[in-house]
Symmetry: C2
Subunit: 481 residues, 2 copies
């Protein structure tokens, strides 16, 4: 029976290189991250998937609070008239919102949309509470779910309802608001690189790709295993546009009535999709230790032999004081357990058997590369700490190598086409004159769209990749999720 | 100016005994717990109010996890056909749900309700994942918001959208499910009594007052300052009713296909309303230390004098290692600050002035009774710890004394009327024959309704307070929020 299970587990995953989309779907399901529901486009976050989100929340929430932000909670609904107050914003979001029209048996006098984002609600509140420069800055964040009526959905990556945090801040000056926008982008980037082991490119969206109502949108872009890009976090600077639309004014320290400057910034459960597609392999999920619900699985080998079960339990208890540990002393075969926890992306496996008891040791196996190491129990905490950090560092290096291998510089549209033909999907670095028509044409003719204008600029050539006129900046192009 | 502010602050609160409802509204607003929004019946949880909820979440979430529960997240929407699967449930909830009828510009083929509670969604998921007795128990919880289209709303107590946690569990046997229902009620009760310092009565709802679809509903009932009762948490046993409706079956350990047994249990942000109405006074909010966003406020006295500001900052820093501390070194007057943090219900105030510096001491003032004590800085952590515990114990005793003073035993409807006339609102203990007609009649004739059948039974008389037939049990009656 255990043999059968082993086989079944391994067979059940489509190899990444055969069909990446199917591989993704298989991993999401086999690693027990979610379930489908009868609500089209909405997913059930099952315990293992939700626990990853809880660790993400814990770490980010701590960073937000360290930088002076406070959590709040705004209503789920936005009256249609409130959504319409800022023109660009409503144009961007109205086509994709869900509308509540009835409460019980009664038709509402005004439709309410289920929040797709909460700028309008925050602005209404800011209008109530910002009167003087002493009331600024307001540094707010909320954890909630939002709804966007997407046509094509995929678990974690694009769903009609998704979980996120949205920061909303108001400042006395434009400089301060811009600095906030940049600070939050940097927090997102650091979190990705350090905690999620996902290297990201920091940059600014082109005007055609900005958030509805924003003056500037900053973003981080991550390269997935298949060469497509994932927008993993955004940070927007609004100037005083919403403040004017919502008549938010304060008395500055020279006693003049002026408008404050605004930002918003967000990350979502799609980060979990990013983790899967950055680190996963043909054995399943691979989780960065910082957000892994189980960091270490302890598996007794030949547990019917005297003392083995007890030693495994003692090891698990001991490590639980510092790490997130699971002991699997079930009667499934060791082979089945190995496959199961590899599928679930548990960073480290500790095997302990009869011979290990005598030698006061165990075998430490890394999910990164299945490397095995016999380690003494004397100093097991330090060994585990080191091994977890090695997983993190190794994941980051692998992901960075994948990105570098998939990044190419091109000077002409022909070069872009040739690069995609030769190397497959990836990032293309190419110069741009700043004209939205060229941006559109690159997409039409090559299939790659502008991902961002990276902060770290290089000079690939002097002229626009499309029109040949003088270039203003280097743009990162690619296909995206 | 500071005098003026002092006056304004104090004047702004309606005394409790003048108009309790207005006092409540004043406290909620002046203590900065929430803001009104243009979405009728929905509130904005502002930082101070939301922080109380975060502390409640942190403590309860920890208790849930200690007892083996896992967090999940289910969709926000329920298709109409899914809601209709369990007959009693849909009858109870359909009249008060919000309906989504359009996604973007398109009319949906099936209406979706915004979840008023998630039994149906959990059941759909359980149907997917429960196959064998090895899959049981399933012990799930989710933190989210739910929507019920209430006509009359009040901040925290009754709002169209509110925040809550809902636990949903499935068990192999009825006994195990009932034990779970009781365990969770006890966790709620302990949390109220220990952490919130709110004494509660544990009991069972009468059949007419059960949750829609439940076989049994257990509850905890708390006595508010004005003599009305607040239902502060509920725990439901469903038998296998939903499991049958949703065709959830598992193979038991004798290889028979059977239905599992189910529970659900919930607490909401109305607990914050309960804290306000249990502990508050004419100076504002009084917060139990376990959930107070600020446990200690440090206020320098005569801070222009040499060393005072520095000493206050040092004291605040030192205490921050163990407590949630705020230093107010603003240029507002000490009197204004006293009123402000009393209004916000901060349990302890530490004053430190020039004379205290020399003596290496500070003045500790309790929010419970404004008692002052000079304490040495040598052992300030232990003094603060003791004082916080004294606030907690004192709040509990005061609340218990209020409840006891407002609880009366009655043998006839006339005695109930006389008691209410003489003592005002409160709990009435009276016997009941078990007939729903008597239950209705008590309410019609006296205005008090059944709150619960307490677990701790007493014998007030041998016969029903209403019909005079043999009594089955003692019921606790009262008016409620």
């Amino acid at each position: 029976m255990s043999k059968e299970k082993d086989k079944k587990l391994v067979e059940a995953i489509t190899p990444m290189d055969t069909d990446f989309a199917q591989w993704y779907t298989d991993v999401v399901k086999k690693a027990d991250l979610c379930d489908y529901s009868s609500v089209k486009g909405c997913m059930v976050y099952t315990p293992y998937g939700y626990a990853i989100w809880e660790h993400i929340q814990r770490i980010l929430d701590c960073r937000f609070k360290e930088t002076g932000h406070e959590n709040v909670y705004m209503p789920l609904f936005i009256p249609e008239s409130l959504l319409q107050k800022e023109k660009d914003h409503v144009e961007g979001f109205a086509p994709e919102v869900a509308w509540v029209t009835h409460g019980g048996d009664e038709e509402l006098t005004e439709r309410l949309c289920v929040r797709p984002t909460s700028e309008t609600l925050f602005c209404e509140h800011f209008q109530h509470v910002i009167k003087s420069y002493r009331d600024l800055p307001k540094l707010y964040n909320q954890w909630c779910s939002v709804v966007r009526w997407e046509k094509n959905t995929r678990p974690f990556l694009r769903t009609r309802e998704f979980l996120w945090q949205e920061g909303h801040t108001m400042h006395a000056t434009a400089e301060e608001a811009i600095a906030e926008t940049e600070q939050m982008l940097n927090i997102y980037a650091d979190f990705h690189e350090h905690d999620l082991a996902v290297p990201v490119i920091r940059g600014r969206k082109t005007d055609s790709d900005k958030f509805a109502g924003a003056e500037r949108t900053y973003c981080i872009e991550a390269m997935m295993h298949d060469g497509k890009s994932l927008q993993a976090g955004t940070s927007h600077y609004f100037g005083d546009g919403f403040a004017r639309a919502f008549e938010i004014q304060f008395t500055d320290n020279e006693n003049k009535l002026v408008h404050p400057f605004q930002t918003s910034w967000g990350t979502t459960t799609r980060m979990i999709g990013g983790i899967i597609m950055t680190h996963g392999d043909d054995s399943g999920l691979v989780l960065p230790p910082a957000v892994a619900p189980i960091q270490i699985v302890v598996i007794p080998i030949a547990s019917h032999k005297a003392g083995v079960s007890e030693a495994a339990a003692a090891l698990s208890d001991r490590l639980s004081a510092r790490f997130r540990v699971k002991l699997d002393d079930s009667d499934n075969s060791a082979g089945w357990k190995f496959s199961e926890y590899e599928m679930k992306g548990v960073p480290l496996r500790l095997e302990i058997g009869p011979r290990d008891l005598e030698a006061n040791q165990c075998v430490l196996v890394s999910r990164l590369d299945r490397s095995k190491k016999v380690v003494s129990l004397d100093d097991i905490e330090a060994e585990v700490e080191k091994a977890l950090e090695a997983v993190r560092a190794g994941l980051y290096e692998k992901a960075l190598a994948n990105r570098e291998q998939r990044t190419h510089s091109c000077k002409t549209l022909d070069e872009i086409r040739a690069s995609l033909e030769e190397h497959g999907d990836g990032f293309i670095k190419a110069m741009w004159c700043g004209d939205p028509e060229c941006e559109d044409k690159v997409k039409e003719e090559t299939g790659v769209a502008s991902r961002c204008i990276p902060f770290d600029q290089e000079t690939i050539s002097d002229v626009c990749v499309c029109c040949g006129k003088p270039a203003k900046q280097m743009v990162l192009w690619g296909k995206s999720y």
